[in-house]
């Protein structure tokens, strides 16, 4: 069946995130809206895979992401840009922290005390941990955190968010071909960190 691209054509007209952040800092409410619209669906889907089952209710996840994103935008002044693409990595980290808080909060909820122990278990695995194993995810997070912010952003955008090279190129103000090479190099760097821990 014929499909037409819904990506390649749009990339050229997408404002870069850096430009949007600049406008938001200058008080442009429209830019804030556009940034929210851009990242909300992406982060909502991502967070869905990062939450354990009992807090994965779609509405709850969406609320969580929205709150995190709004908070992050409110604190933009504290965000020190480490280059294009870093904002998404920053958002992801903020969300990851929020997700962990949420899991702990859920575990403390009194109404859960009478429920199945497994359901209220704060260590219950997230979807991604169920798929590839919690230990692997932890090692990955640790190694990722030691990479330069720009490389973190590239890996997160490509591997975790599944963004296409043209989309990433628009984010980091580069070309798809150059992004492909940069992503590969970032992965090699990450692999060395992970490899040194692999027996």
């Amino acid at each position: 069946m014929t499909q037409n691209s819904d990506h390649d054509g749009g990339v050229a007209t997408v404002e870069s995130t850096v430009a949007l952040i600049r406008r938001i800092r200058a008080g442009d409410a429209g830019a804030r809206e556009r940034l929210l619209r851009r990242f909300l669906p992406l982060l909502q889907r991502w967070a869905h895979g990062r939450l354990p089952r009992h807090v994965r209710d779609m509405q709850e996840t969406d609320d969580l992401v929205q709150v995190t994103l709004v908070k992050a935008l409110a604190q933009l002044d504290h965000f020190e840009s480490a280059g294009p693409g870093a904002f998404l990595a920053y958002l992801r980290q903020a969300l990851l922290n929020q997700v962990r808080d949420e899991i702990r909060r859920h575990a403390r909820r009194p109404e859960h005390s009478e429920m199945d122990v497994e359901i209220s278990d704060p260590d219950a695995p997230a979807l991604i941990e169920q798929i590839v194993g919690a230990e692997r995810v932890r090692a990955y997070e640790q190694a990722l955190g030691t990479l330069p912010k720009r490389q973190q952003g590239l890996i997160v955008m490509r591997v975790e968010f599944g963004m296409s090279y043209p989309e990433i190129a628009a984010e980091v103000d580069s070309t798809p071909d150059a992004v492909r090479v940069m992503v590969a190099r970032a992965i090699v760097q990450l692999s060395k960190l992970l490899g040194s821990e692999t027996p």
Partner: protein, 535 residues
């Protein structure tokens, strides 16, 4: 951490790029690389697959909520495009947890829902890396829909319009991918029927994907007289009303590659009658006039695909691939036929006459793959897999002595026919159609692929006289299995015009011995090479 030279670094980066591109990685080929980095890359591959499973969609700034509706369990998100029969939507499948392309039948399309769903049924049978994967088909609320993988990228037609003709080596690469896609389609007894630039996508990762099987059909059931497809890509015989065939797909692929390389079409005419007349008059534009600097082997491969006479085109999609491949390394072992034979009609027919064949002897041999649903004729170059059951359909208008051998390239050479205790025995009676190996105790037998070799060679010899010397020579060879239907050996089929090159030394000796034997009588032989399907 051991120091890395620049080659190692490049290798690792290429590997990392494959992981990022969601391409499979053959770890077995990478034993020499730094073990630590490889271990890390394996970890990342696992993680990447996990994330892909959860895959988030790319940033989608425009998703008009007014368009949203449901088709069964699918949440339909936004329109992607429209064709004659259906419209294509981006949709989310919550059960698979991924985005899909949903093609919904247009109410005004004029095709029945069942006809529309046939596309899904046909396509679901074919799984190949360069063919779009179908996930499901259903009718909901009176509307038929087929959903498949969401291919992110651009049609070749758009890339051509934006950037102009493709570089020669890129055309070659695209051609090779599409040849393998077509080979898979043809292996399932289907023809695509509408191969064109608009129906081939290049994903962001570079993967080439053949789409749109709306015109596909079983070629044996295709209805002659009904012309489907896109005019400039239609082979002359299809334009004249013949049913589409693998040969017409090969022609269309030739047009596509011609177009990618030059930006032009082989015939300038775009109207039905004018095109038909131009084809009849042979007014084809030659590639070398448009692209004098393009590699000659590439041009030759494309021009051969565009021959008006289907018999003069590449015999199969895999033969086309072989012609497109950049100067393949020659096999280490080659057998050169005696010079006296080279002038014979070796290239003209799959059956090679060793002596001046009297026109009265007509003999046919066709391999078939046999399964619970019946049998499928194996095309040239078909890949076969362990477990496949094969048979040879054989017919001659004279009594004939038949010998069938195979060699898996690892030193196992065996006799597949004749077999003790198996009917028929030599000579096979004239006029009847036999399915070899035959029957034992009334039970039909097949040859079952059981070897894990990479390929097998298969030689069939037919003689009008008994071959006592041959039988004596092969008496000590391993004979095909004693279990019902099972023998050793694994075969892919290549009805090679260059059948003179037999790699197997024992089989070469057999053929050589026969060729030298003046009393051998009239002989024919067929030589096939069968690659194994990838596991």
């Amino acid at each position: 951490m051991p120091p890395q030279n620049s080659q190692d670094r490049q290798d690792l980066e290429q590997l990392a790029a494959r992981i990022a591109d969601e391409q499979p990685v053959d770890w077995r080929e990478l034993e020499k690389a730094d073990a630590g980095s490889l271990g890390g890359l394996r970890e990342i591959e696992q993680l990447a697959q996990g994330f892909r499973h959860l895959q988030v969609s790319a940033v989608a700034p425009k998703t008009p909520t007014s368009n949203r509706f449901c088709f069964g369990t699918l949440q339909v998100l936004e329109p992607l495009g429209s064709g004659a029969q259906g419209e294509v939507w981006r949709a989310y499948d919550p059960l698979l947890d991924l985005q899909v392309a949903l093609k919904l039948r247009k109410v005004e399309s004029g095709v029945l829902s069942n006809q529309f769903l046939d596309e899904g049924r046909r396509l679901a049978r074919v799984r190949q890396a360069n063919i779009v994967s179908v996930y499901g088909a259903a009718i909901h609320g009176g509307r038929a829909g087929i959903w498949s993988e969401l291919v992110r990228g651009s049609p070749l037609s758009s890339l051509l319009a934006e950037h102009g003709p493709f570089p020669a080596e890129e055309v070659r690469g695209i051609g090779l991918d599409l040849c393998h896609a077509l080979a898979a389609v043809h292996r399932h007894g289907l023809v695509h029927g509408d191969m064109k630039c608009e129906n081939v996508m290049r994903e962001v990762s570079g993967r080439i994907v053949l789409m749109d099987f709306g015109a596909a059909r079983e070629f044996e059931l295709a209805d002659p007289g009904v012309v489907t497809g896109t005019l400039r890509y239609l082979a002359p015989e299809v334009l004249r009303g013949e049913a589409p065939s693998p040969a017409s797909d090969i022609y269309a692929l030739g047009v596509l590659l011609f177009h990618l390389l030059s930006g032009e079409f082989p015939y300038a005419q775009s109207e039905f009658d004018a095109l038909l007349q131009a084809q009849a008059r042979g007014e084809r534009v030659r590639l070398r006039k448009l692209k004098p600097d393009a590699p000659r082997d590439l041009m030759r491969a494309i021009e051969t695909a565009l021959e008006s006479d289907p018999a003069r085109r590449h015999a199969t999609a895999l033969a086309f691939a072989t012609a497109l491949a950049p100067s393949p390394p020659r096999a280490a072992v080659r057998w050169v036929w005696p010079a006296a034979l080279i002038g014979a009609a070796l290239l003209a027919a799959s059956a090679v006459a060793w002596r001046s064949a009297a026109p009265v002897w007509q003999v046919q041999a066709n391999f078939q793959r046999v399964d619970a649903h019946g049998s499928t004729q194996l095309a040239d170059g078909s890949r076969i897999a362990v477990g496949d059951r094969l048979a040879l359909q054989f017919q001659s208008n004279q009594p004939v002595y038949v010998y069938v051998f195979d060699d898996d390239g690892t030193g196992n050479t065996g006799v597949l026919f004749p077999l003790n205790g198996v009917e028929p025995a030599n000579p096979l009676a004239a006029g009847a159609t036999f399915r070899l190996p035959g029957t034992r105790d009334g039970r039909a037998l097949t040859w079952q692929v059981s070897s894990a070799a990479e390929r097998e060679e298969f030689v069939v010899i037919a003689a009008t006289q008994p071959q006592a010397e041959l039988e004596q020579a092969i008496a000590g060879w391993q004979h095909a299995g004693t279990a019902t239907g099972a023998t050793r050996g694994a075969l892919g089929l290549a009805d090679a015009p260059e059948a003179a090159e037999v790699a197997s030394a024992p089989l070469r000796r057999v053929l050589d011995r026969l060729e030298r034997n003046a009393r051998a009588g009239e002989l024919r032989h067929w030589h096939y090479t069968f690659p194994h399907a990838e596991k």
